[in-house]
Symmetry: C2
Subunit: 319 residues, 2 copies
């Protein structure tokens, strides 16, 4: 069994990354294709299948592939379908039988599929910061806030396959920010990369506080990070606020599943030096005494360039 390998595919709105991975989490060969040049699923699957065959050949693992794991927006683990994925050019209002189509196109290899955050959780459990953990919550801090919940060593998929949408719990109940999902006050409107940029723009507008950020035209979370590193007080306050919002929500998540740790991943998690203090403070101020100081905040240990492929690939070991 040491000589089996898996394929991981991360389906993003613009590109799809894929690679062959061994049991230790080494990516042996990888490539990338466009996602957004296809308005129909069939030609996309055909190119993806060719790319899969290519990386298998490049890595010299023909005949030794256990299966394929796919992380995709709105991926449903139970059915292998991608449902109403508006950010995928061929997703639209359809239910795409992705796993079935791909499996057929690659000669019958089994395919497991889930959303990107669940895939990240499995990746972290298999190769990363959550190795050995049976109960943890993965939070991905990217353009949005995603989550993958692991209980008793298994990802929680829920009744319909879509459990773990913690980016859309209420961080702010009244007069909260409008979210892409149609609701207001969702966690991801505050605690994502987009949310941080939004906080910056709001605060620059509402206060006269001097800040390096005032000279910029189009503020991104990365700019806030750079300014914080330069000691900019407003930027530091933005991370304090963001960390507090996250920590308060984490306290409620702990009341749900009592995890050993909350694992953070994604672009915004790189601001650990500014976020971690406020997160831990707010989290411990808002949990029941029995959990105070007991739940770890840990940061992904996967190499960022490989993480998406690794997360998706890890799914395939369970096939």
């Amino acid at each position: 069994m040491d000589s089996t390998y898996v394929v991981g595919i991360d389906v993003g709105g613009q590109t799809s990354k894929l690679g062959v991975v061994d049991a230790r989490g080494t990516v042996l060969a990888q490539t990338v294709i466009r996602t957004d040049t296809y308005s129909e699923i069939e030609p996309y699957i055909a190119e993806l299948a060719d790319a899969v065959k290519k990386v298998i050949k490049d890595s010299g693992t023909e005949g030794k592939i256990k299966g394929i794991g796919v992380g995709a927006p709105n991926g449903n683990y139970y059915t292998g379908t991608i449902e109403n994925a508006v950010n995928l050019t061929w997703g639209g209002a359809n239910v795409v039988p992705f796993a079935k189509l791909l499996s057929e196109a690659v000669g019958g290899l089994p395919v497991a599929l889930t959303n990107d955050a669940n895939a990240a959780a499995v990746g972290e459990m298999t190769y990363g910061a959550a190795r050995g953990m049976k109960n943890f919550i993965m939070i991905t801090l990217g353009t949005g806030v995603g989550s993958g919940i692991v209980i008793n060593g298994e990802v929680v998929y829920g009744h319909d396959g879509f459990a773990g949408e913690l980016g859309h719990v209420a961080a702010v109940r009244n007069n909260g920010r409008t979210c892409n999902c149609g609701k207001t006050g969702c966690l991801e409107t505050y605690a994502s990369a987009t949310g941080v940029a939004r906080t910056a723009r709001e605060w620059l507008e509402l206060t006269d506080e001097p800040s390096l950020l005032r000279s910029l035209d189009n503020i991104a979370s990365k700019d806030v990070y750079e300014a914080a590193k330069d000691g900019d007080k407003l930027a530091l306050k933005i991370f304090e606020f963001t960390g507090k919002i996250l920590g308060r929500s984490f306290a409620d998540f702990i009341a749900f599943s009592s995890p050993e740790a909350i694992v953070l991943f994604g672009g915004l998690a790189r601001a650990k030096e500014f976020l971690n203090g406020p997160i831990e403070e707010a989290m411990n101020a808002n949990v029941l005494p029995l959990w105070r100081g007991k739940v770890k905040i840990v940061y992904s240990q996967l190499k960022e360039s490989d993480a998406a492929i690794l997360g998706a690939s890890a799914l395939a070991w369970e096939l």
Copy 2:
């Protein structure tokens, strides 16, 4: 296997109820002993063991008992201990090895133990409204708000055995009511029987609105229910408010585990006629579109006088 039986014990602050139950959820014999007359655990266990032997004898099931299930405040499923249960006279700041002590006192029958809300969830899954469900959340609306979360057919105990404390998520973030747990704004300060009475007292104080409740000295949630049945407008508004607070929180719970249903149990759940509309409205207004109108609110089907024993007993079938 049809001829095996289980014993269920519900340990409450004042009394402990116990009974022998068959596979269909019929209570064949039951009795009750005091909990609060003992300041030490040993004499309490001795009397409890005698009572267990008595109900087994009364039901004619000697030699056919599969095991004993116990529901108790702060019960830890993993360790069989009751930890820091301040409402139990012999609980205090101790870790009481309850399952071990009881098992020894009844001649070695296996004992499983968890908290009351988790026991209620297993009871509902085994004999009640959640039969056939693999993913649901049990919410007990009593003096406090308790919860038992079932995912993939199993109760969630978490890393430490104490998962599922949804009575202590933040229902109100700022200027929320003080909770017994030391935090503020916890769900149970609003949505329990105590919370409803608190809302009534607050609103009577803050407004001049006429109400039948004004004539009462010491308002309990039952009084608010009676007033609502008599068409009292303030009482009806109190249930509307309570249902809204519950529904908003349920929306966040759904984002976590995507349950098929939320099952309500307890004294306050009897006010279904006034609570259910507001709960469903607020829940569906606050969930992601993909769950809108899809998650059922159901009410316990267990006979209230038997429910505590049934819930605890159901644990023993898994031994």
